[in-house]
């Protein structure tokens, strides 16, 4: 074991396969790193149920821990509580914006009754990460990965992605 380096510190360096500018810790999917004797158990939670990157995250975590001198490392999946974009750290939001991806606003508040239907454009449009304008238009709820939506800025005419709130 490398003296002075905790398993948590190692796990926190591992980056997300689909948003490589963020660490898994920035993204909020790294839930727990437990050291018990020589065994390290890392708990991660999926952003979306079908997220195909879970296996890669697990392999990257195990590989990083092995490399840092933790040969006995295991990754567990936790489903509850479900991941929310509110868990993306302040540093993570800055890194997203710097990469031209609009960070999420606050996630929808939990409701007790039926979930309200959204038929029209959002009254609170996403700000363009390039020019900062609020004159943007949603192109599609679904982008290159499950967690991103597609938008276009009417001011600077640039398309951009947004980590959509869940």
């Amino acid at each position: 074991m490398t003296a002075g380096v905790t398993a948590r510190a190692v796990a926190e360096t591992v980056t997300d396969p689909e948003l490589p500018m963020l660490t898994l810790a920035d993204l909020g999917v790294l839930r727990e790193v437990a050291e018990d004797g020589g065994t390290v158990t890392v708990s991660i939670t999926p952003t979306y149920t079908g997220c195909p990157a879970m296996d890669t995250m697990r392999d990257d975590l195990v590989r990083a821990l092995h490399r840092a001198g933790f040969p006995d490392a295991e990754v567990r999946i936790v489903l509850q509580p479900a991941w929310s974009t509110d868990w993306i750290s302040a540093a993570g939001r800055r890194k997203l914006a710097a990469a031209g991806i609009a960070p999420p606003r606050g996630a929808p508040r939990p409701v007790t009754g039926p979930i309200p239907l959204v038929l029209g454009p959002s009254p609170d449009p996403v700000r363009c990460p390039h020019c900062g304008s609020g004159r943007t238009r949603l192109v599609s709820y679904f982008g290159a990965t499950a967690c991103r939506s597609l938008h276009r800025c009417e001011a600077c005419r640039e398309p951009f992605e947004h980590v959509k709130e869940i």
Binding site: T13, T15, T23, T49, A82, I115, V118, S140, F142
Partner: protein, 321 residues
Amino acid sequence: MSFDNAYEALSDSSDSSAGTEDNDGPNDGPNDGHWAFGTGFTDPLAGVDTTVPADVDAADLALYSLMLGDDALIMSHRLQEWCASAPELEDEVALANIALDLLGQARLLLSRAAAADGRGPGEASSVRGEASSVPGEDRYAFFRAEHEFRNVRLAELERGDFGELTVRLLVFATWRLALLRRLAASRDPVLAAIAAKGVKEVTYHRDYAAQWLVRLGDGTEFSHERAAAGLAAVWPYVAELFRGHDVERRLAAVGAGVDPAELRDEFDEVLGQVLAAAMLDAPEVPVQAGAGGRDGVHTGAMGSLLAELQSVARADPEATW
């Protein structure tokens, strides 16, 4: 950037994306996971406690998980058929994303079924799978016969045009969202967790389909006509969604499942809102009565769907890649 450099950048992707790490010993195997996402065959419930609550019948819970998992699996398959056929690239990406969300829900639900009832889906059909190392979710997806699938028939109907797809997705997502929202309070912690996650996803599916139906219904004469035709095609299969099966009612009675009969009011309220905005009316069509998908009775479309879904796994059950 020259073409050579671009090529180099691609082939060195593991180094560049790991550039934020300070480790100086990256030589324990190529980090190629960024391009092909592993095998995808690991247990999606790895490390999750799948103990069934003491007063919940494990066989019922397994069958119920199959019902909800099959709905997602079969609907996902039909959505996947839209890859390379959607009217716009953005919608192709959207439908693929929705299909992926549902496939993820199916994997968890089929794995939950396998964990609740280790015997597999019936002795005759599971012999082949059980003799091998095929994971539970794959055994259910690839080695069951048609009558063992418990999905509602709405999910399996032959692919129609984009108008039909829009209506079917709206109906399916509205119904499933109402169901999952209630299931998030299930006394089975695994189902509750899967449902709570699914609520967030299916909310976007429903809004996507609802907004498209308004565009079509309140669009041109032709788009309105296609949306109306879609409604007429799908509507006979709506009543089945709320009919319920004994297993669903038994689990609802112990607080582990949801009786779909109680979803109808919420469904009608949401559909009423969308149809009014889309200037469409719910059609007067005869309802498909009798036994349905929850009893393993399917339409003619199911056989060819399963043939496609299962053919590779059945040709070589031991295959890995």
